[in-house]
């Protein structure tokens, strides 16, 4: 497992996401890692994040985990394609979500560790398609697919002008 999470390499001005931003003191601080050709994050929901039925995770949390992990995955695969290491100190890479589809396969148990994995489907220009899966033990609870868009480099100092569609 790499020592640095993908989110830790986000530029400070893009690191405020409630789901995964290191600079959001209130948030979930999801940490995603590139391991070989897949990305991995682990998260245990606090019991307050119940779904309608107690003891299950609410849908917004599941979508949030897939969203943050997917956007991080897209960045990691862009680093990889360029032969770079995540957080190599050079120009950071940041993607935002344009579209996210979540299929809820099973009720997701609350209070146990969830594992979220990503795999790159394609990366063309600024567009990355990432396939996602969320499991609890042997149980596949949700699967997702994401289209993420790479922020242009100059967006890091002027995001308002260049974020085409953003969830983060």
């Amino acid at each position: 497992m790499p020592t640095h999470a993908i989110q830790d390499a986000y530029p400070p001005e893009f690191a405020h996401c409630y789901g995964c931003g290191a600079r959001n003191p209130h948030g979930h601080h999801l940490k995603s890692y590139l391991v070989g050709d897949e990305t991995v994050a682990r998260f245990t929901s606090d019991l307050r994040y119940s779904g309608g039925v107690p003891d299950h995770v609410y849908g917004g949390m599941i979508a949030s985990l897939l969203d943050c992990h997917g956007a991080a995955s897209a960045a990691a695969y862009a680093y990889q394609k360029e032969g770079r290491q995540v957080g190599d100190g050079s120009q950071p890479i940041r993607f935002v979500t344009a579209s996210l589809k979540v299929d809820f396969k099973q009720p997701t148990p609350l209070g146990v560790e969830l594992v979220i994995k990503g795999r790159l489907r394609s990366l063309e220009g600024r567009k990355a398609w990432v396939d996602l899966v969320l499991t609890a033990g042997e149980l596949t609870c949700a699967v997702g697919e994401m289209l993420a868009i790479r922020l242009q480099d100059h967006a890091h100092s002027c995001p308002e002008l260049t974020v085409p569609a953003s969830s983060e």
Copy 2:
């Protein structure tokens, strides 16, 4: 505007959702209403729910709002189709999300009132398709489409056996 929110008619054992459950003391308590042939909810995010870029709402919140509102909308349209009123005191109707797709059209401003609306695309048997849109003033920030599944009536006392796919 009806006086009773759709979520207020959820059976108590299905009313714990962090996004919209009346029985979750920590949650967002989203309230959705059926008004004519569309459903409407209003929500202002606390500033902590920032996206990566400050002053925008994070993607997980947007997905959560669409998810909760969509499932509530499905229930409302099922009541309507049966010629019933939401919360009429008879057997309650409850849907859960099977699939949710969110397209993020614009960064969503934080700290202003968001309006989430739903429209029924189709309702066949236990399956409801709902189209969703989230706006901030004149700005269309996100659109969504949901497939929701109606819980079988006896699920209200034994949810584990009959929830086919659930986000709530």
